[in-house]
Symmetry: C3
Subunit: 472 residues, 3 copies
């Protein structure tokens, strides 16, 4: 939300009128929200600021210490101009083209939607005023972010433009305002910069759709299999079980499958390389795209696993569970039975809880190392060790947890209602396949071939400048 | 704690005497803790270091390779001097003023308390030696941090000063030592830099006081209402319930109220803008301050919610709970009753557990995206989507969870002991109001007005250079 | 894993052929994996790229827009050459020494193992071609990381070399590719840079060994004490209790001991300083090393504490626990007893659960503030407040939690099977000692002495330039 904020509440810029030894003059076209906040920040960093406005005498409140003139006059004395007006008004700037020759124009505009116009705002501006050097920068921040400064670690500012000195000048100003500047190249990158604030988790789309699809599929599968079948066959209404019991079956199933889908592309890629005998042939498109969203698949899987843990932990608080345990105890007394302690049952349930907790612990460790600040502090070998070796260990432990849960039910006919297997048996197919394939890849003979291929060896004559891979 | 650490245990600086191609000579006044560590690090980066001391022949252990002379001699050959002596000793530096003319003096001092002196150390130094260029830098690091290098991601160093070339020189040295330099402007910012290491969570003060106040209020409210009333009316001592049962009512109440206080200012601001018909009038002071600590309010609310989750999950382990369940079962047998399974109760309890878990899951997601490294990687639209849309969804789900918990108790007279409502009913007032107001804001007609106002439209004539808001 | 990735799938570099105003020509020796990816990225940033290959006409696929020639011809027109060939092939570069005179050679190589060769690759290269300026850079990234750009916050690139302008040139290229460059000094740091990607959690080795050792010790101690003794004395097989009950005793014990080992060195250091009367004497080696891995000790302790929490929360779901509770209820009915509610038991159990949860909450807060991005945003005083004051509070609360768990069992003879104390009593020794010592340190007279010593006072004559510590 863009709320109007008092310029004085800028917390991180020095308060009051700093004695400004730089005394460099910057010009801002536009006295709207962004223009005023930008001007305020520049003033406090020590620059002098002059605004260009079509109505210099009635343009609304401006920061203290800034002058305001007509566009021509304002642009004259400054060598750098921030263009804080809406694209629709760029047209009139054309008339100032002669006065802006050789100056740096910083385009900070954003559009409300993607692909609203055929060319990027910055390229349009450069076309209107070919004599000036247009630099696209600061458009990924709103007035609010600019005002509060780079308070959340380094605020990054993306920049692009054709002229190196122009970009250098903008870069210096950004650094004085405590932002980190990332140069994206020439002005043809402007479209990408203008799309950037409008993107909404592009790399999460596919994993999210997959998660929703799997959840829906298994929800209906289990709904029919457990609840509707109970109603049809025994006339019992156990629909209340949807909220927790059913959810607590769907979530772990989806989690295990998505964790497997994290590691499946790696296994497929390895076998492709073995089959082709070289690592220099391109992978298919779908495999590439799949490899790029492995991190998002893994994090979603962790989310589902966390929900599974919480749903499991509230089991003993549930009215249904307490009623049932009480009923068992009461029936045992009334029927004068004595149940003997089943040590195998104790071993089995304790084991799969214990294994499940350890698997979840490793899972959370994987998630924590995905955080940007942590993965940045790890060397490549450390990161690969955790995500690859510990990752497969997590997959193995979680699969083992599910097998322990199943125990001997795989062999009982009663598990297969209406000839369908329980949800967790379905969920075990993919992980088992992946773990078996990975085991194959770990066999010494196969591993040696693959390592050789990854170090650049090819089944045909490879040529001279074979670069050894940096990772085995 | 400042512990004395062997200089050789610096892990990230190159070991041994590096062949130093820079060969630039730097001078350090002061052979104390910081002076020595700074000198050691500079030597290892490749500079030559000379110390200035009043007693060159008996000044304690110095790093290998550094020379030591009198202050005059030491300052002569170097163009940059680190002043690592205590402010109380600045007086004697005045006698060296002529020798320090035109040189860069880096002031690294800190005080033990805020406002110990009327002017900042750096400004005092500049006043004593007007011919030199004083730059304030490195004061936000202790000897320990300097020694261990920027091992925890980018260590930031704040800097301020009047002379641009002096600051540039200091900036280069800092970069060679692997620090990121943030320029804070002119020397008038020195006071702020000197206060910075002394501040103790300034933006958390208000939210923490609020949390403590709410906790105390509801604790006593529920203490009187539950425990003291039970003692007064029935003579039962249920004071043991303070530790868990009472805590598990106070924490979710405080959490829900604080989460609401996160979103209430946004709603108030929106209605203010609608009422005034413009976004260019300043908000009241209190609203601004409230808006600035929304993140801290939300994180504290998440903390209380996490405690609520843990307190809920240990319910079935409690002796009191087990005793009571056992007593219910036993009484059912002894009185030869049969309790019928209440499906509505099952639906209701399973639902509010399920909804509570989902709400908490979203809550944790909001918390994770508040981490600096994550919020830095999100575009503005993504961040706004999560904090705003998902945030209101979390508030809605948590409120719904509490309504489900209340179910029909709102209508029963027995809930109202001594004519007071239960704690959770009190906690539902504010969230319900905020959600209703937000719903009003989402009505198409209201939403259109507000969007227009936020894009710069004003109920009176707005003028020419209206900048469209970057966010709706 | 190094998978072959299509160059077109680079998401963060501008797409298509950017009109390249820089037009600077860079040369790359080597057409392998890294060479090609580097060239692709440079092309997209706007540079012109020419490859040097021994077989210019049959060297495999190259990025669009790059030329390929013989090494001599390629190196001629460029002033900077990326050497992307394996060390074993450096020998032939010697023949090009004359053509490479005065140019910048960027060595990006890595080895597969540490200490494979007597000297670092970069120093070897510099020795072969003394006329060129060798800069070691980019070796800490693989082709994959380079391709995906610095998407996870700032990707840091380490650099070292003897010549300042050469390093400046490499630094500019790295910045254009959106990496942050950290200068590590002269070429003698090359060995360290080449070892960096091969290190595997060096600072975690000691804490991990300690954790494993403690876990093994207490596991066998409790195995013998609980399970084997039950078998020997009563013939009962309670081995199933290993999976959860035993684990849930080992984990909290190890956690508490490791948390104590976090704070013990600080206490030892303080007493050492008091004893010696000065802070300027070096600490023993072992104490220094211990102080450096306190953070890892604390994080491992947090991990064990989290496992303890999860194992505790699944207690009521366990078959063994439900069987036992049911058996107690049934026996109460069959023996026609009535158990009276024990309020002290209720107070005690509720208290130690409540205290345990609060201690764990503080523990998690400590862990969160250890994250790089968070500890970077805190001032020194804030960080010290949390890690030191809140840290000791956490240790105190967790110790209190364990004492509450023990309650009066310390006085009962039955607790001491085979004359050995229970595990948790053993675990209380160290924390109690540390807390008592810390309490001693907080006594006003002791605290005053220590503060004076830390501010630089020495029991003998301290000399003139005593630098006051920046922290008390």
């Amino acid at each position: 939300m863009s709320e109007e904020v008092k310029p004085e509440s800028v917390s991180l810029c020095p308060l009051g009128m700093a004695a400004a030894p730089e005394q460099e003059l910057l010009c801002i076209f536009g006295t709207g929200d962004l223009g005023r906040t930008l001007g305020q920040c520049l003033l406090q960093t020590g620059y002098r600021v002059v605004y260009g406005s079509r109505r210099p005498h009635s343009c609304g409140p401006l920061p203290q210490g800034a002058q305001v003139m007509s566009h021509d006059a304002a642009a004259q004395s400054a060598s750098l101009v921030f263009v804080c007006i809406h694209r629709q008004n760029y047209g009139f700037l054309e008339s100032l083209a002669s006065g802006l020759k050789g100056k740096v124009l910083v385009d900070v505009s954003n559009n409300l939607k993607k692909d609203l116009y055929p060319e990027a705002n910055a390229e349009y501006l450069q076309r209107l005023i070919p004599g000036a050097h247009v630099v696209k920068a600061f458009n990924t921040l709103s007035a609010w972010a600019l005002q509060n400064g780079p308070s959340d670690a380094n605020r990054q500012v993306y920049m692009c433009g054709n002229n190196a000195e122009a970009k250098q000048a903008v870069s210096e100003i950004a650094t004085k305002l405590s932002f980190t500047v990332l140069d994206r190249g020439s002005l043809s990158a402007a479209r990408e910069l203008e799309d950037f604030p409008l993107q909404l988790f592009p790399e999460w789309r596919l994993p999210l759709r997959l998660a929703v699809g799997l959840t829906a599929f298994f929800f209906f599968y289990l709904l029919i299999r457990d609840i509707i079948s109970a109603y049809v066959e025994e006339g019992k209404d156990i629909s209340f079980r949807i909220m927790v019991s059913l959810a607590n079956k769907v979530f772990p199933i989806v989690s295990l499958i998505m964790l497997t889908l994290c590691y499946l592309p790696g296994v497929i890629a390895a076998f492709l390389q073995l089959y082709r005998g070289t690592k220099y042939k391109r992978f298919p498109d779908w495999l590439d795209r799949w490899m790029l969203c492995r991190k998002q698949l893994g994090l979603l899987a962790l989310g589902f696993a966390s929900l599974h843990v919480l749903y499991t932990l509230i089991i003993p608080i549930r009215y249904y569970v307490r009623f049932r345990l009480s009923a068992i105890t009461i029936s045992e007394i009334r029927e004068n039975r004595t149940t003997k302690f089943d040590t195998t049952m104790a071993w089995r349930t304790d084991s799969y809880y214990s294994v499940g907790i350890l698997g979840f612990g490793l899972y959370v460790l994987l998630g924590i190392t995905s955080l940007p600040s942590i993965s940045n502090a790890l060397s490549w070998r450390e990161f690969s060790f955790i995500q690859s070796k510990l990752g497969y260990l997590t997959l193995f432990i979680c699969t083992f947890h599910t097998y322990l849960y199943g125990w001997d039910k795989f062999l009982r006919v009663s598990s297969y209602k209406w000839y369908t297997p329980p949800g967790y048996m379905l969920s075990l197919v993919l992980p088992s396949v992946v773990l078996v394939l990975k085991l194959l890849l770990l066999l010494p003979c196969v591993d040696r071939s693959l390592t050789r291929i990854r170090q650049g060896w090819e089944r045909t004559d490879p040529g001279d400048d074979v670069k050894r891979s940096l990772l085995t």
